[in-house]
């Protein structure tokens, strides 16, 4: 599903976030990216979602070469990828359900169908009784679940999560990770960048360790 071959990403200013990285992630895999801050985890996820382009090498996602992807094709690639952010990136000018409906609006879904789907996924993350609430009134854990609901509502084959439990206490973090395990079990490919060793050992799955831009297989 995802393939990196000899990928280097150098940011303007000279910082090399990834050096000569090679990796393959098969469809349906659950992969954890570990490593210290600045090791290149976020950069790797951004390259998969075409938020950044590689300086050298080839990144391919679902058979598409990201380096050669035209500006106009990027939105259609992203519609097949669910993104979960550490800072949630929720919109506070609208309520919970309107946040979740946004990806379906963008994809041109019928409004009624979109609301139905959104409600189903909000139910799945346990926020059904808060659907009219403004996200600002939700707790950190609830906001993260809302962000996950938004990432999943268009039923992507691939979910990328950047430090999804970074700001959460242990109880909420376990909650979120349990949710990820469920999605993995229904066949979604997950790539999760995290520091949370407990979660990794609880969920199992493959572990890719990044160290100063170099990728290595870690112990599962």
């Amino acid at each position: 599903m995802i393939q990196f071959s000899q990928v280097t990403k150098r940011y303007p200013g000279g910082h090399e976030a990834l050096s000569d990285a090679n990796l393959t992630i098969e469809a349906g895999e659950l992969v954890f990216l570990t490593g210290h801050s600045g090791a290149g985890k976020s950069t790797l996820l951004k390259l998969i979602a075409a938020i950044e382009r590689p300086t050298r090498g080839v990144v391919s996602v679902s058979g598409q070469n990201i380096s050669r992807l035209s500006h106009r094709a990027v939105p259609y690639l992203r519609r097949n990828i669910g993104l979960v952010f550490q800072d949630h990136k929720l919109l506070f000018d609208r309520n919970v359900i309107d946040n979740v409906v946004l990806p379906l609006d963008i994809a041109g879904f019928d409004r009624r169908e979109a609301l139905k789907r959104a409600r189903a996924v909000i139910d799945k993350v346990g926020l059904l009784n808060r659907e009219k609430a403004n996200p600002i009134s939700l707790s950190g854990g609830e906001q993260q679940r809302l962000c996950i609901a938004r990432a999943l509502v268009s039923r992507p084959a691939l979910l990328l999560a950047d430090e999804p439990t970074g700001n959460l206490d242990a109880g909420y973090a376990a909650d979120i990770m349990a949710m990820f395990r469920d999605f993995h079990q229904v066949g979604t490919t997950l790539v999760i960048a995290t520091h949370d060793d407990r979660a990794i050992s609880a969920l199992g799955g493959r572990r890719l360790h990044l160290d100063h831009g170099k990728v290595g297989e870690g112990a599962a």
Binding site: A49, P75, K89, L91, L102, I106, G108, R111
Partner: protein
């Protein structure tokens, strides 16, 4: 296709919601646009009314045709036939006796005409051609002058020429002013939209991350610009309606003093539609220019 219509509907409702969520800002922008639009539109209306007034005056140019002293009946017939052609609006025959009688009727000249033993005046035609431009009139006069039996033609169009030139000057002024205010409209719209884009930076950023196309992001802003300008056009209409109401009584009083039943006419439905349509178009254009630029800046800043 369904998806396209859905996107348009979605963008339109989003634009309407944004307009109604900031009523004061919306109203102020509409007023600024309204004032800008009402100036050329008002001048246009004033000019239209003035030309109508000018049309009521005897401003129609006339050609006088003076005949030779002895003209065979066949030539007279030929001239009369020529004057029935389509380029002539109206022709009146003035026999020399009638001309002398008219001349004698005016007091200053009565003494002179009384001393005449022979009528020195020629028979004449007074002709109103259909043409209005100076060149066409001169051509018709020249044409008529070549008919056999015609001694001389005289074209009296100076007064009409001057009036037409003044109106043409006014019309050019209207277009010039309209052009300037169209630029102002584009600028006002662009500025309002720029503020909107900057205020919605987060939404734009998030929408991009979850697969929004450029068009999806641009669309609500374009609708916003068009709707805002349409409101501006309606504001201009209100401004002009109020001005018309205030001016009506004094204009009718003035016209009454001249013994005229002249009154101000409002614009036609087509004119109103044209102004609203153009206004909307320029609002959209301003939004388009501004969104393209501002989005570029917003994204470069990330």
């Amino acid at each position: 296709m369904m998806g396209w219509i859905r996107h348009q509907k979605h963008a339109l409702t989003a634009a309407l919601r944004r307009l109604s969520s900031q009523p004061v800002a919306t109203l102020l922008t509409a007023l600024a646009m309204g004032v800008a639009i009402s100036l050329p539109s008002g001048l246009y209306l004033m000019l239209g009314n003035l030309s109508r007034l000018a049309g009521e005056l005897p401003a129609q140019p006339e050609i006088s045709i003076f005949l030779d002293t002895e003209v065979p009946a066949a030539h007279r017939q030929a001239i009369a036939t020529r004057l029935k052609q389509s380029d002539i609006a109206q022709a009146r025959y003035v026999p020399k006796d009638e001309a002398l009688a008219t001349l004698s009727a005016s007091q200053d000249l009565a003494d002179i005409t009384a001393g005449l033993t022979l009528n020195p005046l020629p028979d004449a035609w007074v002709v109103q051609p259909r043409a209005t431009s100076h060149e066409d009139l001169a051509r018709v006069a020249n044409d008529l002058g070549k008919l056999p039996g015609v001694a001389e033609t005289h074209l009296d169009s100076q007064w009409a020429d001057r009036l037409q030139a003044a109106l043409a000057f006014g019309r050019t002024g209207v277009w010039l002013l309209a052009g300037l205010f169209a630029i102002a409209l584009v600028a006002i719209s662009g500025n309002a939209i720029r503020a909107q884009v900057l205020a919605r930076r987060d939404e734009i950023h998030v929408s991009r991350l979850i697969g929004a196309t450029d068009r999806y992001i641009r669309r609500p802003f374009l609708y916003l610009g068009a709707l805002q300008a349409l409101l501006g056009g309606l504001a201009a209409g209100s401004v002009l309606a109020v001005a018309g109401m205030i001016l009506r009584a004094p204009v009718e009083h003035l016209a009454g003093l001249y013994g005229s039943a002249f009154h101000l006419l409002p614009p036609t439905g087509i004119e109103i539609a044209a102004v609203l349509g153009l206004t909307t178009l320029f609002g959209w254009l301003g939004a388009w220019l501004s969104v393209a630029r501002t989005l570029h800046q917003v994204e470069a800043a990330r």
